[in-house]
Amino acid sequence: MMYVLIFLQWICVLALAPLTVGIVRKMKAHYQNREGASILLPYWTILSLMRKEMTITRHSSWVFRVVPFVVLATAVCLALLVPSIAYGILPHAASNIFLIGAIAALGSVFLVLGGMDTSSTFGHMGSSREMTLAALVEPAFYLVLSTLGLLAGVWSLDGIVGYFAMSPWSAVVPVASITLLALLAVILAENARYPVDNPATHLELTMVHEAMILEYSGPYLAMLEYAAAIKLTVMLVLFMNLVLPFGLLHPAFGLALIPVALMVFVAKLTLGGLLVATIESTIVKMRFYRMQEYMSVAAIGALIGFILVLIGHTL
């Protein structure tokens, strides 16, 4: 039973990840009074990239070839370990927040290495920026996760989502609201979205994530694009599961509720996509040298949330 749910959750995230990207793009197009491409386009992009030949520069090493596999593997692990459809199914040790943070960081580090391996200008620029951002994002990221862990009294994401799902909404979400806002800021930064990075830009000089993968083509590019889609999906669903912890499955409920849980999952993805599209359509990308301010706000938000929870515990 438990393994069925784990497998179902994993497959759903992997299958629907490109859809999330399609939904965000479609909604952004609507904000611009455009029709926009089909929400299924990211699937076609990945499939057509898989069939294309790869152009790999002579000046690259084995690192360049390993990166897509590592990055995709970390994303697939995240899809397995982050609760998206059900809770109470993963061992606490596997869903540990520090483990998940480290897996995400591993993917980032390899992306950075891939960007640097070809010695191309833009790759280096992107990698340098990514490391700068990572140094700014990680404190906020761990503070947010720790606060949630402290609040739930458990150090696994599965347990945290379970705590949110089992408690009355008004008792937990308002308390954690500052932390959740900080989490949103972190998610936007981690996934190279506004106001940190622009996933739709063609201007190499402004890129972060796109600059690192600029030298990749064909199946490797497909793997990296797919990994990015999975990461975005996982994090968005996690955020939605904390803000709206409804409709989640638990082994005790039995299998009958699976269709409902799936519909809720898709609805949360759509809502998350709408949220990202709204943010990206209404705000301007920030100046790169103001990122520390943005991330400081996130970190301080997380810290305030942390202190609030500590005070709550002592009372």
Partner: protein
């Protein structure tokens, strides 16, 4: 200021200034400096090959004497020696022109502080001077490897970023070399001239009417301004008087081009430059509507064919109503998106203090158009040297003082408003009669000019006895403004460069005739 008093100031009491004033080679630089010091900026330099007649090359320097006209100083450089003292030593605005004249004619400006090649890249052999009369237009050049050094900064932690000439997106080719420390730009230099078409050479020996299509294609987004400057030069050389209706229509076409491209830039700067996609989507939609209007009026979306020699494309009374109705909608929509743009703190934060061009640099480099006006230099050919039908329109020149991207954005927004007023005022009292007169070609030479949406265009045309073009020198605003990046870039961070670039929106093709 008046040209005669300027001439007497610099010691040339006998000259009238109507034709080019011939001065000795030795005092050329000094007199040019005196003109600039007296408040008549150097706007244009060109050379001529007069070896057949006098065994000399002519080097011309054109000064803008607002509002009475242009003064041209000329010196004859001997064909053997080919040197004259550089003007750049005291006049920064001459720096690219002198390098250009060397690449075109092999004339050496002695004492030029940055004596490198300009339009010739590595692959052009030494001693190739294509605008000399004895250089055949179909010459096959050998592939050479001549050094083309670029500025470099050395030191710990300094990196060089080469960008282009091939870029993402649909833009023209151009290479940029950044020297950075972290993200901070220390120096920035462009290597352009990848789009050489040889237009100045190609039009030689052609009748003006045959040359017009070449001029129209110098830069795809400013055909009206380029053809207008050329047509005015030819008409002045041939002493043709253009009918009043054509003069008014020329204003209408010029201003339609300006409105369209300014709205494009407003959308492009705010939308693609900062990622505020809403502005790009709406701006480009409005541009498309205007392009369809152009198509319905002239049969060409980019207004090719709007300016003819001796006239302008004529329109019917219904077309007048079409223009007015379209512009009413454009004005309303533009106001709506500008309100949103100015209300966005994030957008204004990106614009302000980004890419600052100081007033001093704008004057020294001879910056043109929006770049100059946004830095507090109130120059505009439409007011300073009225042409076509601008004389009695009282053009208001929009200036800002901060010189940053925000200033250039605001200048564009204000200029659209002024252009709308000008078009309405022209269409209200559009003179009756013909919009075309015949241009009878004859020997002569003259300057022609126009304020394009990018800035001033100045053409100098000389027609031979048969009325064919002997020499046509063209000064495009992009040529003057590209060098500004050396001033604008440093101090900014690399991710802000595309925004600075879009705020100037220069033409690669227009720079490289």
């Amino acid at each position: 200021m008046d040209i005669r008093s300027l001439l007497s100031d610099i010691g040339l009491t006998s000259a009238t200034g109507e034709a080019a004033v011939l001065v000795p080679v030795a005092s050329f630089a000094d007199m040019a400096h005196q003109c600039v010091a007296a408040g008549a900026p150097l706007v244009f330099m060109y050379a001529t090959d007069e070896r057949a007649a006098h065994k000399t090359y002519g080097v011309h320097a054109v000064f803008s004497v607002a509002v009475s006209g242009f003064l041209t100083l000329k010196c004859d450089v001997s064909a053997e020696d080919r040197t004259y003292p550089s003007l750049t030593r005291t006049i920064m605005a001459a720096h690219w022109y002198e390098r250009l004249m060397h690449d075109q004619f092999g004339i050496v400006a002695q004492g030029h502080p940055d004596w490198r090649r300009l339009i010739h890249h590595e692959n052009i052999p030494e001693g190739t001077y294509p605008l000399r009369k004895d250089f055949a237009v179909d010459t096959q050049l050998a592939h050479a490897q001549v050094p083309y050094p670029m500025h470099a900064v050395e030191g710990t932690g300094i990196y060089e970023i080469p960008v282009g000439p091939i870029h993402a997106g649909i833009i023209e080719p151009g290479h940029f070399r950044f020297n950075v420390r972290g993200e901070r730009i220390l120096s920035l230099e462009g290597k352009l001239f990848f789009t050489h078409k040889g237009i100045e050479k190609l039009v030689e020996g052609k009748l003006p009417a045959q040359a017009l299509p070449f001029i129209e294609r110098i830069s795809g987004d400013m055909p009206v301004a380029h053809t207008l400057a050329f047509a005015e030069a030819v008409e002045r050389a041939c002493r043709t008087v253009v009918p009043k209706r054509a003069r008014a229509l020329r204003v209408v076409w010029s201003e339609l081009e300006r409105i369209t491209m300014h709205i494009f830039d407003i959308g492009n700067i705010a939308g693609n430059g900062t990622g505020f996609t809403f502005m790009a989507a709406q701006g480009f939609r409005m541009v498309e509507e205007l392009r369809r209007l152009h198509d319905s009026l002239t049969g060409h979306r980019f207004l090719r064919g709007a300016i003819t020699l001796g006239g302008a494309h004529d329109i019917s009374a219904e077309a007048v109503m079409d223009i007015l109705n379209s512009l009413k909608k454009t004005e309303k929509d533009l106001q709506a998106i500008l309100d949103i743009a100015f209300a966005s703190d994030g957008l204004m934060e990106r614009f302000e203090t980004t890419g600052v061009l100081s007033r001093e640099a704008a004057i020294d480099y001879g910056a043109r158009g929006v770049a100059a006006r946004a830095s507090g230099v109130g120059i505009d050919m439409r007011r300073d040297h009225p042409y076509a039908g601008y004389a009695d329109l009282g053009v208001l020149v929009a200036t800002e003082s901060s010189g940053d991207v925000a200033a250039r954005f605001k200048v564009r927004a204000r200029e659209v408003a002024e252009s709308l007023r000008i078009i309405r005022s022209c269409l209200e009292k559009l003179p009756e009669g013909e919009a075309q007169t015949a241009v009878v070609v004859r020997e002569g030479e003259a300057l022609g000019w126009a304020e394009s949406w990018r800035g001033a265009i100045i053409d100098w045309v000389r027609l031979d006895e048969g009325g064919r073009i002997d020499r046509c020198a063209i000064s495009d605003p992009s040529f003057m403004n590209w060098a500004l990046f050396g001033e604008i870039g440093p101090g900014n961070i690399v991710p802000d460069f595309p925004l600075c670039n879009k705020s100037l929106n220069l033409s690669y093709s227009g720079t490289d005739l």
